[in-house]
Symmetry: C2
Subunit: 212 residues, 2 copies
């Protein structure tokens, strides 16, 4: 298909597609003449993935490029691709005091060790968790019990996530599912958590006025 | 304390504090002379909360103002304040086809009804969940089982969250905990989920090279 058709099928404007091509987020089409290229179903799929990563995952372009590069390796390493998808979306807070983050990091490391989690020492998620823990403490919240409860829940979620990945077809499909599930999963969980919080809050504190 | 001391205690630069004052994110200090004001511990606490909401919650200024206004009501409604904290951070995707979102919304409404969740018909979280579901479908992922599993997990999390709120002191403390827990909780859960995903992935697919 031509670029106009690619645009029609995905709803992404042609200039945006050209931008993604320039940024290396979308592989070049097959040249059919010096200034015309042909695109296929692979482009449609890749374009949808890029939109989701940008729009819902809110990942920076550079991270998406890394992730897609890892996905395009001839013999991609599922475990490593998963590693790329991850910490950037939750890292990089500068409002938290570095000393508190360092202290929180020890707590996160202890948690991982006690639970026997196989997580790289350098994994960005360790530092991300430490940043959030430190932020909780900075606003005076006692987060000890919640941390253990969330860790229990996270163990359950990860099992579901990996089963979700396992249901996809072939290595490429599994990688795709891993990336999509990782990024979209956070948002899905957050939305459902809002709903169940509202439910619990309504049960516990009652409903006033016309909230419901 | 003077504004310089408020800045020292919180690590927020004076010009930024002045900006928050102008934007109504921080209540004015008590005037001690025509161009000097005094601030107290309440300002320190509020300033830390604003930083966390901006930096980790990534909430827009207007949403933070609404939330703080609700928090400052003489007789604040916990249930309603919780409602403010919520959907904006996960809503507003424009990369998903509106028809798919409408179909997904029916699925979310059915889920909530089957589970007896007390959630307002107009709750933003319903629409947010629908948006993410539609995005999953748009990239070709079959999310049916995952949705039910996540809903189970969300019910557990919400109970923990409300207990966390209940451990805070007094109505003001509870509101504060609700806002902090809602916003920071998403990030904490996301970070822990990354760690447990890495663990599950390492168990399932093995570790290659020097990832760990």
């Amino acid at each position: 298909m031509r670029i106009a058709e690619l645009s029609r099928q995905t709803g992404v404007p042609v200039p945006t597609i050209k931008y993604y091509l320039r940024e290396g987020l979308l592989p070049a089409g097959e040249l059919t003449s010096p200034n015309q290229a042909r695109y296929d179903e692979g482009h449609v799929r890749r374009l949808r993935l890029v939109r989701v990563l940008l729009d819902i995952g809110r990942l920076p372009i550079a991270t998406i490029r890394q992730l897609l590069d890892a996905l395009d390796e001839p013999d991609p390493d599922v475990h490593q691709v998963l590693g790329h998808a991850l910490p950037t979306s939750i890292a990089g807070k500068d409002s938290v005091d570095p000393d508190s983050v360092a202290a929180a990091r020890k707590r996160v490391d202890r948690l991982a060790e006690e639970r026997g989690w196989l997580v790289g020492e350098q994994a960005g998620a360790r530092q991300a968790a430490a940043g959030v823990l430190a932020a909780f403490e900075q606003v005076g919240a006692d987060v000890g019990l919640l941390l253990e409860q969330y860790a229990d829940v996270a163990e359950v979620i990860a099992k579901h996530d990996l089963e979700f990945v396992g249901r996809a077809e072939g290595p490429e499909g599994m990688l795709y599912a891993a990336v999509v599930g990782s990024i979209l999963g956070d948002s899905l969980l957050a939305a459902l958590r809002r709903m169940t919080q509202e439910h619990e809050s309504a049960r516990k504190f009652g409903i006033r006025g016309d909230d419901c």
